[in-house]
Subunit: 316 residues, 4 copies
């Protein structure tokens, strides 16, 4: 096998998509498990008692993980000209472009701290915690994250609008409470930025209670601004929820569309079944859900044969 | 009456469904009341002063309940071949299969602790509290729980996606605050798992206030992650709410469909009325709501006049 | 004028509806203002310093209000046979039936405490506070309350389902935390009913922080149950919000329907304008909103003339 | 160039709209940056340590800003007869009317405190904080704020309804807790207005925890009113969220409509592209979103084939 074919094979093994071979899918599962194990290990390592007991094991696991992630990164950069229909086809420039893409930067960030620490003296605890952000390597394998990113991109203007309003409401609340309570609680509302802490905790309805207005006027202002501002601060959350649910609905309707198409000849043959399965995985729909959609469709077909009561012809 | 007919009678008495006989329905009501009484008794028993005063009464009530629940369980296992269209028809294997079904396991869990305590020495308080989970026996009789389970199953992929995002956001928040506040508040943010407590309380907007960031950087990070992450953590709740409301809408439209069908000949006769009633109870629609649907339908018929595109006569 | 005509006049003056005469509407406004003044007065009266200073004024205002509310109640009972198309037409039985209706009971509750206190010795503070519930007399004049009541009635089965789930989740959470933290925090989690306080504050995301789990296991359980249960506890709120918004949409579509009908001949004449106005007030739509609907309709008419691009005939 | 033409030029420079010239848009950007810089400066100035260090710099920046804002205000009043199709065309009365419009009042409020302080002795800190409300000058340039105001106006009747319910629920909660806990916690629940603080914090789910019921009855009432009232207090937030999302959907559908129209001849020429761009900016849609809409439209065209019922040819 020549090098070009080998490179294509590697790229097909590394790339995550719904039509992957079994071998490629096994590799994906192994990588996901390794990333999760890494995150769990780093979290446990932050517990002093555990860290002292299993220091060597943590160290070995870290070295092994770094080696695997480094090989993965090198192979990804090497084989990138074969992915995404030649988007990075140029041997040198294409690879540079790929290295600047978000997933590649996340992969680099997962290993860079280790190599940096070999050459520079860096605060070790800082480094250790940073490794937890390897969790973002999961985004490559997660339909949820892909969907979230798509919602964030598609609703970008809505989010911008909602966050503008949120900022104005927060600043107004913080300035108001600073004006009213500044003199009686200088340690809590000593400046507008300090009052922002109260404003954020209140308007997001977190309400820690470490800082609260104590004057009647402050309480009146606090109550009013909460009742009025709460809704405005919750706007981004609302947009995210409705965007996410719209995306899910779209995915499901896409799948149903394909399902109905496959059912037009009355039966789903082996070929159609495989196509549906690929689509199902791509859209992040569980097998159970797919069956439920099929069931619902069949039921509707039976009940929804609407006919005109006068001429008895089919409607719709 | 031979044993087979008797078994069928028992199964019809025990099974909860909308077309049950009056006797079966009375039995359902009695069981629901007994379960509620059990839960209330166990809750009251946990209050020391009440427990000391009514110890004997609680003990008698417990014994009586255990006897009834045990008989119920034995009868259910015995008569299971007659339910759900022969799903458990085999005398031995079918019963084993039934005993592994969720409702049967809940029924077993309601009585098992008592019998276990007869043979083994188990911490009694632990056992007593566990009895409260008899409340899940209600799921058999509750349309709400059935609907909830259906929503959880139908939206399983959405929930998986939402919980993945939630986990990533929580770990990111906990790691960040651990990095920032670890040195100044070692007792609160001593490890990433410990910091998860703060992250969960904050991002779900519960905000107990037992642990809060105290450094300016910690407060800035806390405020930002709350504003940004809040929406992502609320995604499962949002999906549940919209799934639940979609389910309710579906149920109501199903009922209305049936209602319109029954009204096609202009009148709802006794037979149709009974069918509608069975469906209404199955879908968990109150009588008042059903009347409101009928009223709305009649009103709409007066205002909207659709015509068949073939013969141009009125539809509906 | 004979007594029958007088009674009809009185009933027309008292009844709140959109087609009322100017005199009747003035009376409504006066009553609303009197009720609001009552509520404000009772709230201020609870402030000791204010109460001491203006005791006489409060007393006089109370007596005057009682007299007016008593006359109103007597007149309402007297004239009830003339309202709601003869629903209470019988002179004696009809009046008794009316006195048992919700609005009449609220009216009675607003004056009864005063007369009771004349004959019995009752704790005066208790009585004073009870007077604040005169605020419910506003329900008669408020479209918002009417709409809320309609939503509660129409979605009654959904609310029942949601509250069942809520109860089960709350009991499960309280029992779990009682089991785990009972020994280390006997004062906070001494019994399941006591633990309900924590469960309610946590699952509604209020999170006072007066009681929090302190053991690692308790925190883990608390975090998990919050993330999982939060959504279920928020179900009633979600159902209310979506029911309310559906009701608002329905009202607006009803108004638009009428508007389009009135516009069919191209112009809204004086008669149609008045009818629209009555409907607008009945549905609780502001004048501004009505204008916006008219504007939107006009705009749509201009843009939405869809034609088939091939045969140039109108579609729809 | 004569004065009339100059005035028109000035008005075109000052007015913010989507079809502005490049020069006018640069001016807008500069003004937005200046306003943001002002707000940031005022917030930082409230921090004592920063204020002491950069007192002179803050003072110079303030003077420069005041000069610019004053010139802007004067020019706006001078050139107002040329804006909004002659709404303020009268030289004197038109200008007076313009000066009473909301945006003009905000502009005046941004500079008035400075000039007032020259003539009167006013508490300086009070004045300084008030300057932060210059942030509302941003409303002129923000699509988000325009959208928010439109939602508030269009849903005004819904908001009125929701706030009525909210008020009644809050007063009921406060009165109830006052009645129950007044004697045991006179400092927290000493009067109904004081109890409103607890009621607001609880029903908005903020839950500071500075005041909580301590008697069993108070906790029971608190728990019940939270579970029941929470949803009613969240109504305004829900209405705002759904109104906002409806507005966004409307904007996007308007843009798509225009896009489809432009695509009818198969291609978007330079003229249509510019028109679409103006509309896109007016509606606050990002370029990315617009591309996504175009992409979706193209995809849909391939899958859905509607036919005209008259000539049976393809539509779209």
């Amino acid at each position: 096998m020549n090098i070009t074919a080998q490179r294509r094979n590697v790229s097909q093994l590394l790339e995550f998509n719904a039509s992957s071979s079994t071998r490629a899918r096994l590799f994906d599962v192994a990588m996901v498990l390794l990333i999760i194990a890494n995150v769990v290990a780093i979290m446990l390592e932050s517990v002093v008692s555990i860290e002292e007991k299993y220091r060597t094991e943590f160290w070995i696991f870290e070295i092994v993980s770094i080696i695997i992630f480094t090989i993965e990164y090198v192979l990804r950069v090497w084989s990138c000209p074969d992915i995404e229909e030649g988007k990075y086809s140029d041997d040198f420039k294409g690879r540079l472009k790929y290295m600047r893409s978000i997933p590649a930067l996340i992969d680099l960030a997962a290993i860079a701290p280790f190599f940096l620490s070999l050459f520079f003296v860096i605060d070790l605890r800082f480094l250790r915690v940073f490794r937890v952000f390897r969790i973002f390597k999961l985004t490559r394998y997660s339909n949820a994250m892909t969907m979230l990113l798509r919602v964030l991109r598609e609703e970008s203007s809505s989010f911008f609008a909602a966050f503008s309003i949120l900022t104005i409401v927060l600043i107004t609340a913080a300035s108001g409470i600073y004006l009213i309570e500044h003199d009686v609680q200088p340690e809590a509302f000593g400046s507008i930025p300090a009052a922002m802490w109260w404003a954020t905790a209140t308007l997001t309805t977190v309400g820690y209670g470490d800082v609260t207005p104590i004057t009647p006027l402050g309480k009146l202002f606090g109550g009013l601004i909460t009742v009025v501002g709460m809704g405005m601060v919750a706007l981004p959350a609302g947009i995210l929820a409705s965007g996410f649910s719209a995306q899910l609905k779209k995915n499901r309707s896409l799948y149903r569309h394909k399902l109905i198409e496959s059912l037009q000849d009355g039966v789903i043959d082996a070929d159609e079944k495989q196509q549906l399965d690929v689509l199902r995985r791509e859209l992040g729909i569980t097998e159970q859900e797919a069956q439920s959609l099929l069931y619902t469709h069949n039921q509707q077909r039976q009940t929804h044969h609407k006919k005109c009561p006068h001429c008895h012809k089919d409607l719709d």
